[in-house]
Amino acid sequence: MLNVKDLHASVDGTAILKGLNLSVRAGEVHAIMGPNGSGKSTLSKIIAGNPQYSVDKGAVEYEGSTGTIDLLSLEPEERAREGVFLAFQYPVEVPGVQTALFLRAAYNAVCRHHGVEEMDPIDFDVFLHEKMKMLDMDDKFIDRAVNVDFSGGEKKRNEILQMAVLNPRLAILDETDSGLDIDSMKIVSAGVNKLRNRRNAMVVITHYQRLLNYIKPDIVHIFCQGRIVKSGGPELALEVEERGYDWLMK
């Protein structure tokens, strides 16, 4: 589904990714771990299309609705409509834009792209409440402006709500566990697990092995200095938790 080939990328002239290769297939969950500054978040931002990051070399191929596409040639909104989703590490506050309106605009933009009939506000309300229930969210939540005055946990839950609404084929969760207490993490993880199926894939970026007890990965990658230095099964995360990263950086 996703093929990252020899990706080199920089921000403000500083090279961050230095020849990254990553292949993700439908049905798989990949976890990415690694020390600060190793390029984990940069990868997520490049896949989402953040204009602040520049790709200097390499390619990102993605299985879209019309076959293999060059993801980097698409605008951020086109990537989203093709089923790429990034759960932000720091979700952006959007003052004045009501969450319910935002979610419906997003949902319908994806519908239009695929030639599917848009949902009217009443049907969408029912649909949305189903998803909110799954994440144990308060009804009033969607009347508030997007992420404005949300607690850290609420922001992260809102990201997963958006994921549930948009039902992406490739979801990248960028440190979704940071800022979550243990109960919230269980709820969010349960939500993520419900969205998991054979046709979609997830890439979970985290600092802590703890999250991987709830969202069980098939493959764990360790990032270091803009490259993957080691890949393995779930046991690799446990090993890193115990031994740190130093032994991998040699």
Binding site: G49, P51, R79, A80, P91, V94, A106, H113
Partner: protein, 405 residues
């Protein structure tokens, strides 16, 4: 040498139209050399050859009809002349009286334009609300300018008197309809007795070549609550002077505005809020969105008299620039003569936040749609403060359908 009113073709044309403007001849004509008119150039108006529109028969334009509630209460004026057939109100109920008359051409009090308004002796709409009456259904005063020929002069006057403890909502609209230029110089005088409450909304939709110089006066007695909102798409020249005198303890005025400007449009809001008595409160929020080469001016003056202790005053002007060629001039002016007061003011000028746009894009919303959504959110902040849902809807449609935002 400073220019005098009599030196302008505008003055000549008013005299020729039979308006008693003679006594105003020696008044100075405002130029951009004067601080109060620095950013609003009236040289175009000085050259305007105004004429008084004759009675025009007309129907309510479909676009206006679609905007209003089906059973709206209020007065419709075409080119300054009340049209009974289009209006709908009871002259007298036990709660309220509405009188239509010709404005008495009184003394030349007030500034030049207020004096011109009086000299024109055009229609005056006077709404008086009885003690304790609570009228939540908005009363509309709708000015439609559709006179043929440029330079039609429209000088209406609205007088609202609220007796003790009464409440009223008034919506005054200035709508140019399939018309080129005109000059509108309206005056609104709103006075609130003890404990009265008024929601007053002014909605403008002018063609780009119109010239509008308006004045609103608010006079609030003890424990009164006045809320004024001006929503405008500007004009060739759009100027509003809003003067509030807070004369009673415990009273509050809330003065808000929205400039939504495109093309070469201009809008200048001058507010002046005078706290005369202790423990009163004023709050102002003016938001301005500017595209293309539009220009917006906000000048907010707050005067706190020496005895007006415990005054609470808050002012904020937020500007959103959508184009590198748009321009904003904003200026707070605080004159505080009391020592135990709380006054804050602020102004911001910014562009649409790229991070917010990107966030919306990552959810499938196209860049242009994202931008539009954010601009609307910026503006809705002002409109959402209105209590009346029907009115919020009217303004929301106006922004989209007429202003193009």
């Amino acid at each position: 040498m400073n220019k005098l009113f009599k030196d302008t073709p505008f003055f000549e044309s008013l005299l020729a139209a039979g308006l008693p403007v003679g006594p105003l001849a020696e008044r100075p004509w405002p130029t951009t050399r004067e601080e109060a008119w620095r950013y609003t150039d009236l040289s175009g108006l000085a050259q305007a050859r105004a004429h008084i529109p004759r009675r025009v028969e007309g129907t309510l334009p479909a676009s206006v009809k679609a905007l209003l509630p089906k059973d709206f209460q209020g007065v419709v004026l075409l080119n300054g002349i009340p049209v009974e057939a289009l209006s709908s109100f009871e002259e007298e109920t036990n709660q309220r009286t509405v009188q239509l008359s010709l404005s008495s051409s009184g003394s030349g009090s007030g500034d030049l334009f207020e004096a011109v308004n009086r000299s024109a002796g055009q229609a005056e709409v006077r709404v008086s609300v009885a003690k304790g009456a609570d009228l939540s259904v908005p009363f509309y005063v709708i000015h439609i300018m559709n006179a043929v020929g440029e330079g039609a002069l429209v000088c209406p006057r609205l007088v609202v008197n609220l007796a003790e403890g009464s409440r009223l909502r008034v919506v005054e609209m200035f709508l140019g309809h399939e018309v080129k230029g005109y000059v509108s110089i309206p005056v609104a005088e709103l006075s609130l007795a003890d404990g009265a409450g008024l929601d007053y909304v002014q909605v403008h939709d002018h063609p780009p070549v119109a010239c509008h110089v308006g004045r609103v006066r608010v006079d609030g007695a003890r424990d009164s609550q006045a809320s004024v909102l001006t929503v405008t798409n500007g004009a060739a020249v759009f100027r509003q002077d809003l003067l509030c005198d807070i004369r009673g303890e415990g009273s509050t005025v809330s003065v808000n505005g929205l400039h939504a400007l495109k093309g070469l449009r201009h809008a200048d809001s001058h507010t002046e809020i005078r706290h005369h008595e202790p423990a009163s409160r004023s709050e102002q929020l003016y938001k301005c969105v500017l595209d293309d080469e539009a220009r917006s001016v906000f000048n907010g003056r707050i005067v706190v008299d020496q005895k007006a202790q415990k005054t609470n005053s808050y002012q904020l002007n937020k500007n959103l620039l959508l184009s590198p060629d748009a321009r904003v001039d904003t200026k707070p002016q605080l004159e505080i003569h009391a020592d135990d007061v709380r006054c804050t003011h602020g102004a911001t000028i910014g562009r649409v936040n790229e991070e917010e746009i990107f966030y919306l894009q990552t959810r499938g919303i196209g860049r242009e749609d994202a931008r539009r959504l954010l601009v609307r959110a910026f503006m809705d902040d002002v409109i959402s403060r209105l209590e009346d849902p029907g009115l919020r809807e009217i303004l929301s449609r106006k922004l989209k359908e007429s202003y193009g935002f």
